[in-house]
């Protein structure tokens, strides 16, 4: 799924832009001023930025100059949004390199025509959407593929490929939300594979490299990988990187599906990395309400793969336990880590949550 970033200080304009973008089936990010827009652009590297000319804090011209001066986002297409009275400014900003401009208020047809120059027609853009719940793992070692499959299959649909060429074929057919690629493959290595994959669509990318090879890891990040995992990896470590990469391209409502599993009829929420978890909380709350409305009265929160809890994790877990209790779900927390249990004990008692070593035991105690 392609991503479009709208930077405009007016909520009504951002709303209108979001509505106009619906036909393109893209993920929309919003920022209220240039500074916030730059932060989001650097974190998510959108496919298109729609940038208002006149804004407080950091106006469109300053923001555009910052974008063009940042190596990580300098080539992202930018379309300027300008008021009727601001058309004269367009000549000035054209020198800074913009793909086009749209005068506000705009008609849907005008908007679509301009945006299609970057995203393709609305139909084509929608067709390019990825499957947010699928992950493709590419490695020339069957053994690595088996380990990756075991690590990810609880949460996502896992596709595998033994070479870069096979990966491209699988990608064309399935459009997975995340692709995990071994950097050191014969014939087509991880860098060449990534370059070809990016021509086909926009997914989250995770590199597999030899643990400790700092130079390769740095090169991978510069090439556009969202994360790098050293081999051999722990199961939870790979899943964390995959979910983090997915969060760059997949909407929260889709991403939360990757964290929700099932243990013999009992819903299980596998805790993602703290950065991803905080983004998912509003969506998680909605899913809890749906679960309760569907007649569920139990929930397992699986934190088993966490070795230690960040303060963000603790804050988010507190909210999750409160949300679950609020909709009438009985909760069990699944972990064997004494440190985690000690940190969470007070929270769990407040939310009347139980403890269990495994998901099976958690289901049984509920």
């Amino acid at each position: 799924m392609k991503t479009v970033l709208t930077i405009d200080d007016s909520k009504v304009v951002r709303t209108m832009v979001g509505r106009a973008l619906q036909t393109f089936g893209v993920r929309v990010l919003e920022a209220q001023h240039g500074g916030e827009g730059l932060t989001l652009a650097r974190a998510d590297r959108p496919d298109l930025i729609l940038l208002d000319v006149t804004m407080p804090v950091m106006d469109g011209r300053q923001t555009l100059a910052e974008i063009r001066g940042d190596a990580s986002i300098h080539d992202v297409p930018v379309i300027m949004l300008t008021a009727e009275s601001g058309k004269d400014i367009v000549i000035e900003i054209a020198r800074l390199g913009v793909t086009g401009y749209i005068v506000k208020p705009f008609k849907q047809e005008t908007f679509e025509k301009e945006v299609a120059k970057v995203l393709g027609s609305p139909e084509a853009a929608a067709e390019g959407a990825v499957d947010p719940t699928a992950v493709l793992v590419v490695d020339d070692s069957e053994k690595v593929l088996d380990v990756a499959r075991a690590a990810l299959a609880h949460n996502m649909k896992v596709l595998t490929a033994l070479s870069g060429a096979e990966a491209l074929e699988t990608y064309r057919n399935s459009r997975p939300g995340v692709v995990v690629v071994d950097l050191a493959m014969p014939d087509m290595d991880g860098f060449a594979t990534l370059a070809e994959l990016r021509k086909l669509g926009r997914s989250g990318y995770v590199a597999l490299s030899v643990r400790g090879d700092d130079a390769a890891q740095e090169k991978a990040r510069k090439a556009g990988y969202h994360g790098v995992v050293g081999k051999p990896f722990r199961e939870g470590e790979l899943l964390d990187h995959v979910l983090t990469a997915a969060s760059s391209v997949v909407a929260p409502e889709d991403l939360v599906k990757c964290c929700l599993g099932d243990e013999d009829g009992c819903p299980v929420f596998a805790i993602p990395p703290a950065r991803v978890l905080s983004r998912l909380l509003p969506e998680f709350a909605k899913r809890l309400r749906s679960l309760a409305e569907d007649g569920n009265d139990r929930l397992i929160i699986d934190v088993a793969r966490l070795e230690e809890l960040s303060s963000d994790h603790v804050t988010s877990l507190a909210r999750m336990l409160a949300e679950a209790s609020g909709v009438g779900l009985r909760t069990a927390i699944c972990t064997t880590n004494a440190g985690v249990i000690a940190t969470l004990r007070e929270l769990a008692e407040a939310g009347e949550a139980r403890w269990a070593d495994t998901r099976g035991a958690a289901r049984a105690c509920l």
């Binding site: 909520k11 009275s85 208020p105």
Partner: protein
């Protein structure tokens, strides 16, 4: 146009006028501003003519058989209390009065603007008619404005919204929803999106259509009567009428706009209640004639 009473300090009226017209034309599917039929323009021109007479008004009305029927029907309505029914058009115009006949003609023609098939447009029409009826009655009861000049600005007070609706109904609904959800006040949201609000747009259209300057100013400032200069009293009447339209169930949004209220126009609670009931009945009678 008297710039000192109609434009905010420092604004260039020509520039604002061109901006409103340019934006509405650009958004419109046809590339043109909403217009009134020629018969309405002729009636408005006649209303401005000091030598106007019944015969000339009858000539205008006769150009449209539907309008003739409406004028006769109104003349024979219970509200005007004729002892014997008017059978000829000139009898009907005499009964109604030249000025009121103009109001009826313009309202009947304006009705076409709202015939889009959209429920929102239909609600907007009923709100316009209710506000027009209320404006006339409030002006008369409060003596704050000439009642014979209150109906049309009441009718057109929200015609800027109709222009927005005709240009792009979805955008109008987005703003309506944001207002309903208290995400901002209507004038600000419209300013941010269109570059002007519906009151400004309505005043421009009304001026194009030939309404008097005081009436246009009352439309422009109907949400802020204190700023309307010489038209402040008429704007206050329109503002209060807008509120009464909501009170009789003819609103167009979840929340009624802020209103000066009838008390501010010197009508106590009892008089206000009685007047509101009269307005409700008069609205139904007008609706029966104008559809």
């Amino acid at each position: 146009m008297n710039a000192s009473t109609t434009w905010e300090a420092g604004a260039d009226p020509t520039d604002t006028r061109a901006r409103v017209a340019g934006t509405l034309k650009r958004l419109s599917r046809t590339g043109a501003l909403p217009t009134l039929p020629a018969v309405a323009s002729a009636a408005l021109a006649l209303a401005r003519d000091p030598d106007a007479d019944i015969d000339r008004m009858c000539q205008i009305v006769r150009t449209d058989i539907g309008l003739s029927a409406r004028v006769l029907r109104l003349a024979n309505s219970a509200a005007l209390g004729r002892r014997t029914p008017a059978r000829r058009l000139n009898e009907a115009v005499v009964t109604i009065g030249l000025r009121k006949t103009t109001d009826v003609l313009v309202a009947a023609c304006a009705r076409q603007l709202y015939d889009t098939g959209s429920p929102l447009a239909e609600a907007q029409w009923r709100h316009a008619l209710a506000t027009a009826v209320a404006s006339e009655k409030i002006a008369r009861a409060s003596r704050r404005a000439d009642p014979s000049r209150a109906f049309l600005p009441g009718l057109f007070h929200d015609v800027g919204r109709v222009a927005f609706l005709l240009a792009d109904e979805v955008s109008l609904r987005v703003i309506d929803r944001m207002v309903d959800e208290c995400a901002g006040d209507r004038a600000t949201l419209e300013e941010e999106w269109y570059g002007f609000d519906h009151a400004q747009a309505g005043a421009e259209l009304a001026e194009d259509w030939g309404l008097a300057l005081e009436q246009c100013d009352a439309i422009r400032w109907h949400h802020d009567p204190g700023t309307a200069g010489a038209a402040a009293d008429l704007a206050a009447v329109i503002n209060a009428a807008d509120g009464v339209a909501y009170a009789i169930g003819q609103g167009v949004a979840l929340w009624p706009p802020e209103s000066v209220g009838l008390a501010a126009l010197g009508l106590d609670a009892e008089a206000g209640q009685k007047l509101t009931e009269e307005i409700g009945e008069a609205f139904q009678e007008n609706l029966a004639v104008l559809g």
